[in-house]
């Protein structure tokens, strides 16, 4: 009886011993704020305030995991090796949304970082809260012009004429095509909605009541409907941001009835909401669907896993070519105490050859300066992998129509509308009408 509990207790004591010798170093250094020894290189440096040994520490928060996270770590390491007086500490803060949550509470409590990655759609919200530094003077001071950046990616960088963020890991949706399947059926890659409808229907294989192959698919996201709304001549918000810009001109109805029409014949597979991106990717890899709308971020992964002829193409146009952009920007926070060092990091990452360019080449995100585009390395890569160039070329048609402080809130309502139409086959005009009213209510606040 007794011995049993002593075993349990002794194990606990063991835990606490571990706690004492393991965590002790870190926590005592913190409470005592001695900041002297710093045996663990990362922690020790992070603790030391900017004065110690003339090294300024810059905290950088990002949302990159997996391979892209490793490329980002490598970038930070390259920076630290080339800068003796600045140490950048990069910390992964979860997904884009989780990073936003973290930033909100950290800024409020004065423990925010110096530099942060911010998903482009949230830039407006933080800029409105006046926590982002205006970068214009810094650009001037370093002799950089805003024209040096890829124009299609600057849509979310301005707020009230202030430049509050610069593009970093940016992507855009494109059409990924299983060329082998299309060739077998003698089809060419669609460039318009009409052609896409024909091709997608031709790809459908149905046995009994079961679809063995679908024509086209896209992840459950607002990105793709927004692209199509712009292609059909609508905008997400109207000009003075008081309502939606695709209700009265019929663009919204056109998009969703087009999608429902495709869905009814199996030409469109609309995936379940949970994990839709992965589902769509794996169906594409397995040849269960011939074409997908998907981010440029998938090119590298798809190219290395598929065993068929894989090409990318512009999103098909309706009235016009149009596509939104995605990914994240980099921002300098007003609360930073080391703005000069933080700016040096941003400048280096944006402009220097061994900075962002290397990261872009590795990760497959879009090149964000003209200098990068013209660089020999980029041109070489594009010659080797033309699939990647397609995405950059498409930026000519980049639009940013979902720009508003209230976008994150409206996004949830838009998701509900998409669900109602795509999953529950609710009446399109009345669903969009409800969404319009809801949007107007939120925008009026």
């Amino acid at each position: 009886m007794k011995s049993k509990w002593f075993t349990l207790l002794s194990i606990m004591v063991l835990f606490s011993l571990l706690a004492a010798c393991g965590g002790g170093g870190g926590s005592t250094a913190n409470t005592g704020n001695t900041g002297s020894a710093g045996e663990s290189p990362g922690n020790g440096a992070a603790e030391a305030p900017s004065g110690g040994e003339g090294v300024t520490t810059v905290q950088f928060w990002h949302s990159l995991g997996g391979k892209n996270g490793e490329y980002m770590d490598a970038l930070i390491q390259r920076f630290n090796e080339s800068h003796e007086d600045i140490e950048v500490v990069g910390t992964f803060q979860g997904s884009y949304d989780e990073t936003v949550t973290k930033l909100q509470q950290a800024i409020a409590s004065g423990t925010g970082p110096d530099v942060s990655m911010l998903e482009r759609a949230y830039v407006q919200m933080f800029a409105d809260a006046e926590v982002l530094e205006d970068l214009t003077p810094y650009l001037e001071q370093s002799g950089i012009s805003a024209d040096d950046f890829t124009p299609g990616l600057m849509g979310h960088s301005y707020f009230n004429d202030k430049l509050v963020s610069l593009p970093l890991n940016r992507s855009t949706p494109i059409l990924h095509v299983n060329k082998t399947l299309l060739d077998e059926l003698g089809l060419s890659v669609p460039t318009t909605w009409e052609e896409m409808k024909e091709v997608a229907n031709a790809l459908v294989v149905k046995e009994g009541n079961e679809f063995k192959r679908y024509g086209v698919s896209m992840p459950y996201d607002t990105w793709y409907p927004i692209a199509m709304i712009s292609q059909a001549g609508g905008t997400f918000f109207n000009e003075d941001n008081t309502s939606i810009g695709f209700g009265d001109n019929g663009a919204g109805e056109k998009v969703f009835s087009y999608l429902k029409d495709l869905q009814s014949t199996g030409a469109l597979y609309y995936p379940p909401a949970q994990d839709s991106g992965n589902i769509v990717n794996s169906m594409f890899v397995e040849g269960k669907v011939g074409m997908i709308f998907q981010s440029t971020g998938s090119i590298g992964g798809l190219a290395s896993t598929v065993d068929f002829d894989y090409v990318t193409a512009f999103l098909p146009k309706d009235e016009v070519h149009a596509n939104p952009t995605g990914g994240a920007n980099v921002t300098l926070l007003s609360s930073s105490k080391n703005k000069d060092a933080a700016w040096e990091f941003i400048r280096w990452m944006e402009m220097e050859e061994e900075g962002g360019l290397e990261f872009i080449l590795q990760s497959g995100y879009l090149p964000f300066t003209k200098q990068m585009v013209e660089s020999a390395k980029m041109q070489e890569l594009w010659a080797k992998e033309p699939n990647r160039k397609v995405a950059y070329d498409q930026l000519e048609f980049a639009v940013d129509t979902n720009k508003d402080v209230a976008w994150p809130e409206i996004m949830h309502e838009f998701f509900s509308a998409i669900e109602a139409i795509m999953y529950d086959s609710k009446d399109i005009p009345s669903t969009l009408d409800t969404f319009k009213k809801e949007t107007e209510r939120i925008l009026a606040q």
């Binding site: 965590g23 992070a46 997996g66 989780e98 973290k102 992965n278 971020g297």
Partner: protein, 246 residues
């Protein structure tokens, strides 16, 4: 999960899924391990969950004993407050707690992951119910023999409530070992983060998720839970066998 952790990326995407990997990819584990300071993450997880367990027991047992066997003014009100405490989800309290921790300069340490969990309302409640079943006579007898209250707890209450304690320990361990949200919002640097956040870092932000690597990480996360479960379940059974007085 174990199967996926040994597959190649191509295999993880196959539909229908394959169960037995064609050739086990042990390298996935190495790759997962190399993706970050996993030893540090593991150590942090052990330290945090271990400390929570110890501190919880130190607080919970006397509290439950007091609620079960003492009469004092305000007892029902206090107990009601404890019941209320375990109905409030962590998502509601994290902002005030974070602000408090930031004020005290603790966000770069392990402490914010431990302090809020020192009192375990559910545990106090469960243990109180269990203590109440233990006959008053045994305690009276011990008091007549001049046993101190501490000794009564140690020699009578604890041994007789083995199953309850093992259950609470298991629940508490599993929930804190697997916790993702709380450590994420409470910590600002990689050095103090637990294994769950390390695994999350394996996930791709955009593009194709490397499920085989993620699953290799998950296997590392789950194995300790299985070990603790095996250990605890043995004790739960034993405790049932030995607790004779009813």
């Amino acid at each position: 999960m174990i199967s996926t952790s040994l597959q190649t990326l191509r295999e993880t995407m196959a539909f229908p899924p394959t169960w037995i990997p064609a050739s086990p990819q042990w390298g996935n584990f190495v790759e997962a391990m190399n993706a970050g300071p996993f030893l540090t993450y593991f150590k942090n997880s052990v330290v945090v969950t271990g400390s929570i367990l110890i501190l919880q027991f130190l607080v919970m047992i006397p509290a439950a004993y007091a609620f079960a066997k003492y009469k004092f003014p305000g007892k029902t009100v206090l107990f009601g407050m404890i019941l209320l405490a375990f109905m409030i989800p962590g998502q509601v309290t994290f902002i005030p707690v974070y602000l408090m921790m930031a004020e005290w300069g603790l966000v770069k340490t392990l402490l914010p992951q431990v302090i809020p969990f020192v009192s375990n309302a559910f545990g106090i409640f469960l243990l109180r119910q269990y203590f109440m079943q233990i006959p008053e006579e045994i305690i009276e007898a011990a008091r007549l023999d001049n046993a101190s209250e501490f000794n009564i707890m140690r020699k009578i209450m604890i041994p007789m409530s083995g199953p309850a304690l093992a259950t609470i320990a298991l629940f508490s361990f599993v929930s804190h070992w697997n916790d993702y949200f709380w450590p994420l919002v409470m910590t600002d640097s990689a050095e103090v983060r637990p294994l769950t956040l390390g695994i999350a870092m394996l996930r791709e932000t955009e593009g194709i998720s490397n499920w085989h690597i993620i699953m290799a990480g998950n296997v590392m996360l789950v194995v300790p839970i299985l070990l603790v479960y095996l250990f605890c379940s043995k004790h739960i059974v034993k405790a049932f066998v030995y607790s004779g007085i009813k």
